[in-house]
Amino acid sequence: MNRSQRLKLGIFRVVVLLLMGAFFLMPIGAMLEFSTRGNEVTSPRTLDAWVRIAQTPGLVKGIYTSLELAVITSLGMLALLLPTMVWVRLRLPRISRIVEFICLLPLTVPAIALVVGLKPLYIWVNINITPSVLALAFAYLVLVLPYSYRALDAGLAAIDLKTLSEAARSLGAGWGTVMLRIIIPNMPSAILNASLLSVALVLGEYTVANLLNFQNLQVEIAYVGLTDANTSTAVAVGALLLAFVLLMVLALVGGRLQQQHYVPGQRA
């Protein structure tokens, strides 16, 4: 590739980056702009809408609820999926296709169809177990399966699971120790990835919560938006920015964790 070709490619890259950046950032910028508007067209910029977030109990509750749901869903997903996937890889490779199919299935089921199936279940749970909104975590556990499965599968494929676990077991480690001290520490970025995807999905989930009559963050945003568009927009921007920050943290922490044990250019 000669110099002018390289230059053209460089320009092309910058143009694409700018276009995509504009595509993603313009709506967010517009929302930010809208959320800082005053009441009149001529009013100066104000953070009133942002301040009102804290003064709207429904929103605050919604934020806490969604954060709680995100944490529960992520942990539940890891506790359910990681041991299952390890076990299938080591002991039941025959059924790995079936497990993969089941995990990817939620992707093909529209949320509305899922709710139709879940509704009777949730009525029963509501009456017999708990009316708490946190019960939504069960539904979310199903929704995050496809994304988490993909992330964890990539992490597991990158390590020699069989040899490492057998080496640990021959040294006296039980299965719990193998999971906690050998497998998990060797796939930190895959686990962070899977968790972040779960968190992002839960923070942005509206359909299922709304149709099952639960008040999470997105439902509250929509509700507040009916009377106070500025504040609901402010919260929406805030939620988006939170997801971005989490992504950044993931990229930085994941990169650092990998660097610790792997010298660039060498392979174990």
Binding site: E166, A167, R169, S170, L171, N186, Y262
Partner: protein, 364 residues
């Protein structure tokens, strides 16, 4: 070296009694019986799929037997999981934990045994010294060469003072030079520690070089178990003769407890062989080549095709007109045997085995 600190446990006797393992309808291991004396190094040798690795994994507890028992020093461990068996294991694939340094790897088993930090550091340091890697304690696996990784793996396996050491083709992933050096190192450490060791390999040179006894396996059972010299010079079955070392297949006739091969009568290993045409298995070093004046064409006269220099010895390929015969001799004797030289065979009168099949070609 660290012999005082490491020779703190004598080896124990390890017995495999009628050990069997099936995968569906495939019999991987068929009632294997093997008793390893305390401190002995037994090598299981055989082609892939012969059951040698299965045997080792059953001893380790990484797989469950369909029948039979594994006994460590009089104690039946057949029902124990791998984590409770106290075996030290080195794998063919690199098995160091990537997120730990060399010394953390070696100390891992000690941590699980709730040793104090001081004790762990001391013992792990000793083990690294034993394998000659004291200076590499803080390296991660990715910063070590393949040979170094396997040495750390050996140190890690020995750190827990296992009752038995299991080596599953630990040298197969290494290049030739490192392989022979590490092979000798493993033997030195094993003798130093005095631990009973089962070594699985498909490489006959490895097995013959370091084992006290070699077990040649085929199709899930032991064909022969004995000291390396016996395996090589007195193979019990045709399979062993052909698997271990190079062997000439020369047509002959069995008659009255001997075999007539190209005019030379050779004794038989198995005297009860039925009379009739047969293929005799003759080692290349039992064949010597004579060059003298009169080369009357006959069953023992042939032409040198090629001479392969192997270092101290050379291997000469001779075209007999009706087949090829290999002869191995000191390089000093092979100097004159250039391609085209007419030679006469002389067969040493060692007992020979008869091949079971009737393939009439002679080959290596």
């Amino acid at each position: 070296m660290a012999s005082e600190a490491t020779r703190d446990h004598a080896g124990i006797e390890v017995r495999l009694e009628g050990l069997s393992r099936r995968y569906g309808s495939v019999v991987a291991l068929n009632e294997l019986n093997l008793t390893m004396a305390a401190g002995e190094l037994v090598a299981l040798l055989g082609p892939s799929g012969c059951g040698k690795t299965t045997a080792l994994r059953l001893v380790a507890g990484l797989e469950e037997a369909n029948g039979g028992r594994v006994v460590f020093g009089g104690k039946d461990v057949t029902g124990l999981p791998a984590s409770k068996r106290d075996v030290g294991m080195v794998f063919q694939a690199y098995s160091l934990f990537p997120h730990m340094t060399a010394i953390q790897n070696v100390a891992f088993g000690l941590t699980l045994r709730r040793k104090t930090p001081d004790e762990r550091r001391r013992r792990a340091g000793e083990m690294l010294e034993l394998v000659g890697l004291s200076g590499f304690a803080d390296r991660y696996a990715s910063q070590l060469s393949g040979g170094q990784q396997q040495r750390v793996a050996l140190a890690r396996a020995l750190a827990i003072e296992p009752t038995v050491l299991l080596l599953d083709e630990p040298l197969s992933a290494l290049d030739a030079k490192v392989r022979s050096r590490l092979r000798d190192e493993i033997r030195r450490v094993q003798l130093d520690v005095g631990i009973t060791t089962l070594f699985v390999t498909h490489d006959q040179e490895e097995a013959l070089a370091i084992a006290d006894r070699v077990g040649v396996m085929q199709a899930g059972h032991l064909e022969q178990l004995g000291p390396p010299t016996e395996i090589y010079s007195r193979p019990a079955t045709p399979f062993v003769a052909e698997f271990v070392g190079l062997t000439n297949r020369i047509a002959g006739v069995v008659k009255g407890g001997g075999v007539e091969v190209r005019g030379t009568r050779l004794p038989l290993v198995m005297a009860d062989t039925a009379d009739g045409p047969a293929i005799a298995l003759v080692r290349p070093e039992a064949v010597s080549l004579v060059v003298d004046g009169e080369m009357v064409p006959g069953p023992l006269v042939g032409t040198v095709i090629a001479t392969a220099f192997l270092g101290a010895t050379s291997r000469v390929t001779v075209d007999m007109g009706d087949g090829i015969v290999l002869a191995q001799m000191p390089t000093s004797d092979a100097g004159a045997l250039t391609a085209g030289t007419r030679v006469r065979l002389a067969l040493r009168k060692d007992p020979v085995l008869i091949a079971r099949d009737e393939k009439a070609t002679t080959e290596a």
